[in-house]
C-alpha cells in the first residue's frame, strides 16, 4: 500500500466534485492510500500570479509545507491548474535560495521543499499494470480522445518530464489499460480557455468548440480530461457553444478517473457521471453492451 498526499483543490470540493468522487472510488483498487493535506488552502489558481509573484508561490507553498510536516514525500494534485501552481512553486523555490528564504519568512514555517508534486497522469501511469489487471469490464469499443490541455505536461522543467511535452502518451496508456481505444487527433494539447470561462465566455466557446470538432472528426465517442477547468469548459460550456452556433450535438466529457472506474465495473453513479451537463448515456450504454444508446436509462 503506497501512501500519497492528496491536494484536492477548490474545484474538487465544488463544481467538479465527481472528479474527487471517482478518484476516491478507484484508489482502493490501486493499492494506494490518499492522505489529504491537513487544512489545505487555495493555490491561488489563475488569479494570484497576475497580482503578485510571491503570492503565487507562497499560497501553494503553505500546502506543501503542511504536507512536509505530515511526513508526506509526495503529493498528487488532480486539478491540472493546481498541479501547475504547486509544481511551479516547488520548482522556483528549489532554484532560488532568496525566494526560499522569503517564503519561509512569509509562512513562518521551516519549509525544506522536500515534497514531490505529481499529476494524476503521473500517478496513474505508474499503475497501468494494476489498472489492466483490475479492469474486469474493459471498455471495448469505446473510442476516446485523450485531451491534455496546457498544464499537465509542460513546461518540462516544472513537470520533471514524466511525459513528453509535445507528444505525450500517459493518458493514452491509462485509457488503453482500461480497455478503451485512443484515437489520433490534433488538438489534444491546445488550450481550452482556462480561467476565462466566466469573464470571457466567447474565447472559451471559440477554443473549446475547435477541440470538440477535432475529436468528433477523429471518431471519438468521448473526450477524456484530467482537469476540472478543462471539464467545465468542454462539458458545461457545450450549451453556450451550441447557442452561439459554434457546435452541434453532444460530446460526453469524462474524467480519466471515471474511465478507470468504469473499467473496474464501478457503478456510474458512484463515479459521478450523473453530475455532468452533457449526458454520458451513450458511453454507459456502449459499456452495458447495449446495441442502441437509446436503451439506457437516466444515469444518476
Amino acid at each position: 500500500m503506497s501512501r500519497i498526499g492528496y491536494y484536492p483543490g477548490c474545484s474538487l470540493h465544488g463544481l467538479s466534485r465527481e472528479y474527487d468522487e471517482s478518484l476516491k472510488a478507484i484508489v482502493p483498487s490501486l493499492d494506494t492510500e490518499l492522505v489529504e493535506i491537513d487544512d489545505w488552502s487555495c493555490c491561488g489558481a489563475s488569479s494570484a500570479h497576475g497580482v503578485s509573484h510571491l503570492l503565487s508561490v507562497a499560497l501553494p507553498a503553505r500546502n506543501l509545507a503542511i504536507a512536509e510536516e505530515q511526513g508526506l514525500p509526495e503529493v498528487v494534485a488532480p486539478c491540472a491548474a493546481c498541479y501547475a501552481r504547486l509544481a511551479t512553486a516547488r520548482h522556483e523555490i528549489s532554484g532560488d535560495a532568496n525566494l526560499a528564504g522569503t517564503v519561509n519568512k512569509v509562512l513562518v514555517r521551516d519549509f525544506r521543499n522536500s515534497v514531490q508534486v505529481r499529476s494524476i497522469l503521473e500517478v496513474l501511469k505508474g499503475q497501468v499494470a494494476t489498472i489492466k489487471a483490475k479492469a474486469t469490464r474493459p471498455l471495448k469499443d469505446l473510442k476516446v480522445a485523450c485531451y491534455y490541455g496546457c498544464l499537465l505536461v509542460r513546461p518540462v522543467e516544472v513537470t520533471g518530464g514524466y511525459d513528453d511535452a509535445e507528444d505525450p502518451s500517459s493518458m493514452e496508456e491509462v485509457c488503453k489499460a482500461a480497455g478503451a481505444t485512443p484515437v489520433k487527433w490534433n488538438r489534444r494539447l491546445d488550450c481550452c480557455g482556462g480561467g476565462l470561462s466566466m469573464s470571457r465566455t466567447g474565447s472559451v466557446v471559440r477554443l473549446g468548440s475547435a477541440i470538440l470538432k477535432d475529436a468528433r472528426a477523429a471518431g471519438a465517442d468521448a473526450i477524456v480530461v484530467a482537469c476540472p477547468m478543462c471539464h467545465s469548459n468542454l462539458d458545461f460550456r457545450q450549451k453556450a457553444m451550441i447557442s452561439r452556433g459554434a457546435w452541434e450535438g453532444e460530446m460526453p466529457i469524462l474524467f480519466v478517473t471515471q474511465v478507470v472506474g468504469l473499467s473496474m465495473g464501478i457503478d456510474p453513479k458512484t463515479l459521478g457521471l450523473g453530475r455532468h451537463f452533457v449526458s454520458t448515456n451513450a458511453v454507459t450504454a456502449r459499456l452495458a453492451g447495449a446495441a442502441a444508446p437509446a436503451a439506457a436509462g437516466e444515469v444518476g
Binding site: G14, R17, V51, S52, K105, L196, S203
Partner: protein, 190 residues
Amino acid sequence: MGTHEHSHDHSGPEPLAARVERMTGLNPAKCYQCGKCSAGCPMAAETTLRPHDVMRLVARNQLERLRDADGMWLCLTCETCTARCPNGCDPARTMDALREIFQGSGEGRAPKPIRAFHKSFLDQVRSHGRLFEFGLILSYKLGGGPLFADVTTSPGVMARGKLGLAPHRVKGLQEIRRIFDACGAQEEGR
C-alpha cells in the same frame, strides 16, 4: 513617455526591460523575434499585441504601449509560448510580470470582467482560505461581471449537487491573511 527622459540617472523609474529582467531573471532582449510563441498562442487571434510583440516592446521599454494593450490580460498562462520558444525566453512569465507591474501601480487596464473576476476570486480566498464558488459568482456579478455569467442560474447546477451554499473556512486563516499582506496583495480600493 517623456517622463522617463527627464528623470535623473538613479532617482528615475527603472526602465521596463530592466525591471522585467529583475522579476523574471531573464533578459527580454534575448528574444530574436522568431514569432514561434505567437504561432502557438491560443489568444493571438483576439489580442492586439501577440506574445512576440510584447517581448519586443518590453525589450524597448515601451511601457505606455503595453499598458494600453490587452495581451497580458487575456493571456491564459497556458505556457505554450514558453514551451515552444527555441531561445529560452519565457513570454508567459513576462506576461505575469507585466500584470504585476500594472496591477501594482493601479494602471492596469484589464478588461472589466477579467479584472472583476480576479478580484472576486482573490477576495474569496483571502476571506475563506479556499475558493467559495457561490460567493465568487455573486461577488463577480456585483463587481461588474456580465450577467450572463450563468453558472448559478443555469438549470441543473443545483440539481447536480455542484454548488455548495456555505463557505468552508480553513483553520489557518490568520496565516492566509498574513501571506496576502506580506505579498502586498491587500484588497485594493478599485
